[in-house]
Amino acid sequence: MEFGLSEEQTLLQDSVNRFLDAQVPLDRVRAFSEQPDDQDIWQGLTELGIPGLLIPESAGGVGMGCLDAALVAEALGHHVTPSTFLGTVVMAPLALAYAGADQDELLARIASGQTRVGVAVGDAVAARQDAGITSAGSRLTGKAIFAMDCPADYYLVADSRQRLFLVAADAAGLTCQGLPTIDRTRRTAELTFDATPAQLLSDDPEVFARTVDAGRVMLAADTLGAAQNMLDQAVEYAKQREQFNRPIASFQAVKHMCAEMAAELEPCRAMIWYAGHALDELPEEARLTACHAKAHLAEVGKLVAKTATEVHGGMGFTDLVGLHYWFKRIGFNRQMLGAPELVREEAARLQGLVA
């Protein structure tokens, strides 16, 4: 029995963290927020094998599992890394695998870092009135908003009936228009389709659901990393910052704020490990744990984001220390692929608790 990371997993996470520590300091994040080019970062992640993480070795990948991906997501969140990940590395390869699609060539290109895949499934998770995609045969029409990891070479798109399609970026009638969000470390877009040719990957709602589950666990893991970093920064700042002739870390109010953050956050680590593990190994538990990981990390993340900012006092509110990049990243993770109330209702439905 071992509830924890293997040596290989620890090494993977360490190597990603080392690369990000060295190559993606806050200044690099700031630069991206002005000029959203992640080529160097993506290049570095490619050298570490990240693009092929979930792709079978037979298709040029490294054939690791969802827990490994969650550990990478945590590291990326920790460093508020501006890079494609969720669509290209996780949701697209998994959707292809879950759908049983014969796409080894595409997978090989993804694994090599040459091809990126954006993901536009938000409207099939929770439809908003501005958007919506309908399919007729293998043609898509409509609009997807807040598509993630854009622009890309391909898009993984769900229509309003949760059928999954793959669409090439240069397909007829497709336009991709960047959409700014509070989180300037992620690139989101509006995709419009006008009878755009698409390849149906699956019309099985289970394939859609499993793909979304994985996406949710990755967003939750990203929040875990980001929140842990905010807590670390808060503790560090409190130790340095003096007011009334003593470090503010010696004030009980500040100590208790930090203790409350740690007490909420620490169990989330085990939760993410389990949820990542369940995606691959425990199919009967995977959906429920994914829902709860997503919703619970959203709530804990919100608490930590606010409290860590408060510990920083006015500094936390300014751009000077850049804490807000983490705050906003956590906010992004909360709202995407289902805000907490919606995901909790889904958890209840999965257990037959909704009449």
Binding site: G122, A126, A127, R128, Q129, D130, I145, F146, L179, P180, T181, I182, D183, T188, E190, E242, Q243, F244, N245, R246, F251, A253, V254, K302, K306, T309, E310, G313, G314, M315, G316, F317, T318, D319, L320, L323, H324, F327, K328, G331, F332, R334, Q335, M336, G338, A339, P340, E341, L342, R344, E345
Partner: protein, 396 residues
């Protein structure tokens, strides 16, 4: 309980309404502080007693007797008509009352009329990077050199520094004195050589504030309010007033109503947001809390008029009001789902993106003007009579 203002005041309210109706074309909207339209409007408001109402005519005010209800009616009517209620800013709200209380006759004459007319714009130099909650530990120094103070140091959170003509500034003049007794309150021009203003971008992405750097800034010796070393007393003579406005429940009510409207029109999964019972319950919880804070506000107003005691009711407004507002704005973000992330020039902004922007800005207000932690210290000590933390020796 008598919730009516009474006939005298209803007449006054009618007068204010009539004035607004007649003159609203002359009111500036988004013009600069300095526009002729803004200055003319300010003069008109003073003349009618709708701003600078109780400041003596001798100093350029309207010279009316203080009347809390009339002031409230003026504020209510201008707010509900969405018409500019005159110039604000720290010069008018903080420096003018300070000078009225602590300034020399000459200072009053020199600064108050021009400030009220909007011809002299001020910024406040209090906080420093190392002196936030513990403001009295400020380090910006002023050393007397002949007839001049020579100032070196740095201020932060000076909101209108880039627009101001003058600054009122706390500086350390007696480095040997206990920290509260070594501070002086100086006034000087912002175009004095050696002053550099740098905009301070905050988490909302906007430069709502500035940093101000002083390098050998030379200021005439007499530009001091109060005596050397009295700066802490001068500043605190009116410091309490500033916090009152943070957490105003009437502004929060306006937002609650806007949120309710949005939830009635916006849909998720084909259902109105208000039809999601978990969201609706959160909204109702907030409505109850906003209601309590509004009635608390009426109680405070009434206590001011009737000279009765409501000190605890008043003391908790900043803490509760800013937390409540932050939570309310956060519900606005939550219910919007992905749309709650839109920012900048996104076409998917709702209510101009105000939910997400205010959610962050009000976190700033939870911190600013006395953090929630400082507020709780104050409530427990001054409100509940609990002891201060004991003095301590440095190091363990």
């Amino acid at each position: 309980m008598d919730l009516s203002y009474g006939p005298e005041y209803e007449t006054f309210r009618d007068e204010v309404r009539a004035f607004i109706e007649t003159h609203r074309d002359q009111a500036p909207s988004s013009e600069s502080l300095r526009s002729e339209k803004a200055l003319a409007w300010q003069r008109l408001l003073i003349e009618h007693g709708y701003t600078a109402r109780t400041i003596p005519e001798a100093y350029g005010g309207h010279g009316a007797q203080p009347d809390i209800l009339k002031s409230r009616i003026i504020a209510e009517e201008f707010a509900s008509a969405r018409v500019n209620a005159g110039l604000g800013g720290q010069g008018i709200s903080m420096l003018v009352p300070t000078l009225l209380e602590m300034g020399t006759e000459e200072q009053k004459q020199q600064f108050i009329p021009a400030t009220l007319r909007g011809e002299m714009v001020w910024c406040q130099g209090y906080s420093e990077p190392g002196a936030g909650s513990d403001l009295a530990s400020l380090r910006t120094s002023a050393v007397l050199d002949g007839d001049e103070w020579v100032i070196n140091g740095q201020k932060i959170w000076t909101s209108t520094a880039h627009l101001a003509d003058w600054i009122f500034c706390l500086v350390r003049t007696e480095p040997e004195a206990p920290k509260h007794k070594g501070i002086s309150f100086l006034l000087f021009r912002m175009d004095t050589p050696g002053i550099e203003v740098r905009p301070l971008v905050d988490m909302t992405g906007i430069a709502n504030f500035n940093e101000v750097f002083f390098t050998d800034v030379r200021v005439p010796k007499h530009q001091i309010v109060g005596q050397r070393g009295d700066g802490w007393l001068v500043a605190n003579a009116i410091l309490g007033h500033e916090r009152d406005s943070l957490g105003d429940p009437n502004a929060t009510l306006t937002r609650l109503n806007a949120l309710t409207e949005m939830m009635k029109t916006e849909h998720v999964g084909g259902e109105r947001l208000i039809d999601n019972p978990a969201y609706r319950d959160r909204l109702m919880k907030l409505q109850g809390r906003v209601m309590a804070m509004r009635f608390n506000d009426l109680r405070i107003l009434s206590a001011k008029i009737n000279n009765s005691d409501a000190h605890l009711a008043r003391m908790i407004v900043k803490l509760q009001g800013t937390e409540l507002r932050h939570e309310l704005e956060g519900l606005g973000v939550d219910v919007l789902g992905e749309l709650g992330l839109a920012y900048g020039k996104s076409p998917y902004l709702r209510d101009g993106g105000s939910w997400q922007r205010h959610y962050m800005f009000f976190l700033g207000l939870i911190i600013g003007g006395g953090t929630s932690q400082i507020q709780k210290n104050i409530i427990s000590e001054r409100g509940l009579g609990m002891p201060k933390e004991p003095k301590f020796e440095k190091a363990i």
